[in-house]
């Protein structure tokens, strides 16, 4: 390995996919954390003194997010009150194990944890739903319910923000997916770093510009405990195609990920193209694109 790009005198242990710079372990930690700090301050993600729920799944993204948020909060004195919020969808072999990881995070980072379960909220688990309706449409259902469960959890905890672990790869993948399915409304919105889900609790993405590969390296070198099993349900066809395409693109040139986000941020939708408008579900009052949302249907 070449010497560290930061000229610290040590040898590099990794090459950053985002910039091509080579860094030693210590300088990588610094760069990685500084970048997230830069994103948080430059994009003014949190008002000082607010309460922030971190959507914790036990996976690498939310584990790293919780760790770095705690570290930066102390180092730069953001004065944030951080809590963990988890959703128990009731998927055996996936969520039950990953929740143990979240509980470990709670103890390690000394943050309160709130778990919202589908069973408590809706009266059934994803396992039961699958037994009932089969494997078709799983992600669609699950996604709708998780979003609502997170919103309800955030409201219950009385937080000002909900921080999610979406990384740069997730955002780039979503841009491609929305182009494939011609969804202009989402295309123009999916790169926003702050979104409002309609109930006044903004969702923020502090890892928006962080590469998945670097998150994995950071977790590895920091020896963070996370749960690495993928969800047992397959994503929809558009996302599946977008995911494979993005992986192939990244192999050709890792800069493509930031390029796609840059494109998504600068795309302009024709004013006369008709866009679906936001409305609320007439039964539960949550944001929906139809009169009655998927969950109430």
């Amino acid at each position: 390995m070449p010497p560290c790009s930061a000229q610290c005198g040590k040898n590099a242990i990794l090459k950053r996919p985002k910039t091509g710079d080579t860094l030693c372990k210590e300088c990588f930690f610094e760069a990685f954390e500084n970048e997230i700090h830069f994103t948080i301050t430059r994009a003014k993600l949190f008002k000082p003194g607010s309460k922030v729920a971190i959507a914790a799944s036990g996976g690498k993204d939310s584990t790293v997010l919780a760790y770095v948020m705690k570290l930066l909060n102390e180092k730069y004195d953001y004065k944030l009150d951080l809590v963990l919020l988890s959703i128990d969808e009731g998927i055996t072999g996936y969520r039950d194990d990953s929740l143990d990881t979240v509980k470990q995070n709670r103890d390690d980072y000394g943050m309160p944890l709130k778990i919202m379960s589908y069973k408590d909220l809706y009266g059934w688990t994803m396992d039961e739903i699958v037994a009932e309706i089969g494997r078709k449409n799983n992600c669609t259902f699950c996604g709708v319910f998780r979003r609502q469960a997170l919103d309800r959890g955030a409201a219950l905890l009385n937080v000002d923000y909900l921080a999610t672990g979406h990384n740069a790869d997730d955002i780039a993948e979503t841009v491609l997916m929305n182009i494939l399915r011609g969804d202009l409304a989402r295309l123009s919105r999916c790169t926003s770093i702050i979104t409002d889900s309609g109930d006044g609790i903004p969702r923020v993405k502090p890892l928006k510009y962080t590469y998945e590969k670097e998150i994995v390296m950071y977790a590895y070198f920091r020896k963070l405990v996370y749960f690495s099993t993928e969800c047992v349900f397959a994503p929809n066809a558009y996302r599946g195609h977008a995911r494979v395409l993005l992986k192939d693109l990244e192999k050709i040139d890792p800069a493509v990920i930031m390029n796609i986000i840059q494109s998504g941020e600068s795309l302009k939708i024709n004013e006369n193209a008709n866009m679906p408008t936001l409305q609320k579900c007439t039964r539960c009052g949550y944001v929906s694109s139809q009169d009655v949302c998927k969950a109430c249907e």
Binding site: T19, D170, T174, A185, A237, H241, D248, S263, E271
Partner: protein
């Protein structure tokens, strides 16, 4: 983190499944006239008889041109010939449009341009291809200009490099090296392609001006446009997608590039040529590795979609139609000539990448002294985001 369903809109059923290829209906009559026996199946479901198919193709060509009402009678149009079914069909569409006796007659003056760059073939083979193209264009009774990319990039004036006869064009075994050396060797394969593509566009605009043409027709079909759109997105050219993937590229004030075949697919045009007894000039294609550049990967990706999910290619094109340049920006990129975006107050991907590189090259002492406040987002000169990599 699972991010599905995370952006306020639930995933509607009709958005969830990519529509796969549909089966042709068992109905054995033409979809259009409902009388004749169909001879062609398009998009794997629509069946047409000979007459309805040809009428439909001609109508689509004219409707694409007519809808935009850009061309006036007697305007000169530079038609780019790229060798293959689309180019041959394009020449035929134009010739039959000009020869009409009705009020629907086309009224512009076409001139055909062929830029030779088959540097993977022998000089003899290349010469044969040029001869065949000269002959093909002559059959349609159009004026043709033949030239080569290697010559165009080594000379400053286009006028000495445009020839009406194939044997006037000098070709050299060294042409391949000339083109290779023209591009910065530090660039990766994707960016080399990007550089050459922009160079080609600039050259045809220059030639159009020299030949007094206000318009350029290029033979790109739906797959080309869809893969171009995805390529542009992947190269960070999102703000100018509508120029490369829309019907009209209007970045030059005097010459507009139009894509009259952008709603056709290859099968349709191959059939059109077949029914009109037209044989395009053929040549041995370059061997290309789809995993070597973004452009090649996107071609492969879109061609596979076309086979299994033809509706998705159409969707990508429609997405392109709904994107625009936004408010009229005043400055243009020094390299590609596309309008430059105004920099807003928001954090962008570009700034984040600049910061990442900056923070990765700060020494430990500098880091301690100057936290992120010392970082100044370098304001860029007159280069668009996609062209910054070409800045010396």
């Amino acid at each position: 983190m699972c991010s599905i369903g995370d952006d306020n809109f639930e995933e509607l059923d009709n958005l969830k499944y990519m529509p796969a290829k549909e089966k042709p209906s068992p109905f054995s009559k033409c979809n259009k006239c409902k009388e004749e026996i169909p001879i062609v199946v398009l998009r794997s479901k629509d069946k047409y008889c000979r007459k309805c198919f040809l009428a439909g193709a001609t109508h689509k060509f004219k409707a694409t041109l007519g809808k935009h009402k850009l061309i006036r009678p007697n305007d000169r149009v530079l038609v780019i010939h790229k060798c293959g079914h689309p180019s041959t069909a394009l020449l035929h569409f134009i010739r039959s449009g000009l020869d009409l006796e009705t009020h629907k007659k086309l009224r512009f003056e076409p001139v055909v341009l062929f830029i030779e760059e088959f540097t993977h073939l022998t000089v003899t083979d290349r010469s044969e291809i040029l001869k065949a193209i000269e002959k093909e264009v002559a059959c349609f009774n159009f004026q043709v200009y033949l030239t080569s990319l290697a010559k165009l990039i080594t000379t400053n004036s286009v006028e000495t490099e445009l020839h009406a006869n194939f044997d006037r064009l000098e070709m050299d075994e060294d042409d391949k090296n000339v083109i290779t050396k023209f591009v910065d060797q530090q660039l990766n394969e994707t960016n080399k392609n990007d550089f050459l593509n922009i160079t080609r566009q600039k050259l045809i605009v220059k030639i159009a001006k020299h030949l007094n043409c206000k318009f350029i027709f290029t033979p790109e079909i739906s797959n080309d446009v869809a893969s171009q759109l995805l390529t542009d997105i992947s190269l960070g050219r999102g703000s100018t997608v509508s120029l490369n993937a829309g019907f009209c590229d209007s970045r030059d004030e005097t010459v507009k590039i139009l894509r009259p075949l952008r709603l056709f697919d290859l099968k349709e045009l191959a059939f059109y040529n077949h029914l009109n007894s037209l044989e395009p000039v053929t040549y041995r294609k370059r061997d290309e590795n789809p995993y070597k550049s973004v452009q090649q990967l996107m071609k492969k990706f879109v061609n596979e979609l076309q086979v299994n999910y033809p509706a998705t290619v159409t969707t990508i094109l429609k997405t392109g139609d709904k994107l625009s340049l936004g408010t009229k920006p005043t400055n243009k990129c020094d390299f590609c000539n596309a309008p430059l975006e105004e920099e807003g107050p928001e954090l962008t991907s570009a700034e984040s990448t600049q910061f990442s590189h900056w923070v990765s090259t700060q020494t430990p002492a500098e880091r301690r002294l100057a936290p992120e406040r010392a970082f100044n987002n370098p304001t860029c000169d007159n280069y668009c985001f996609g062209c910054r990599k070409f800045r010396k």
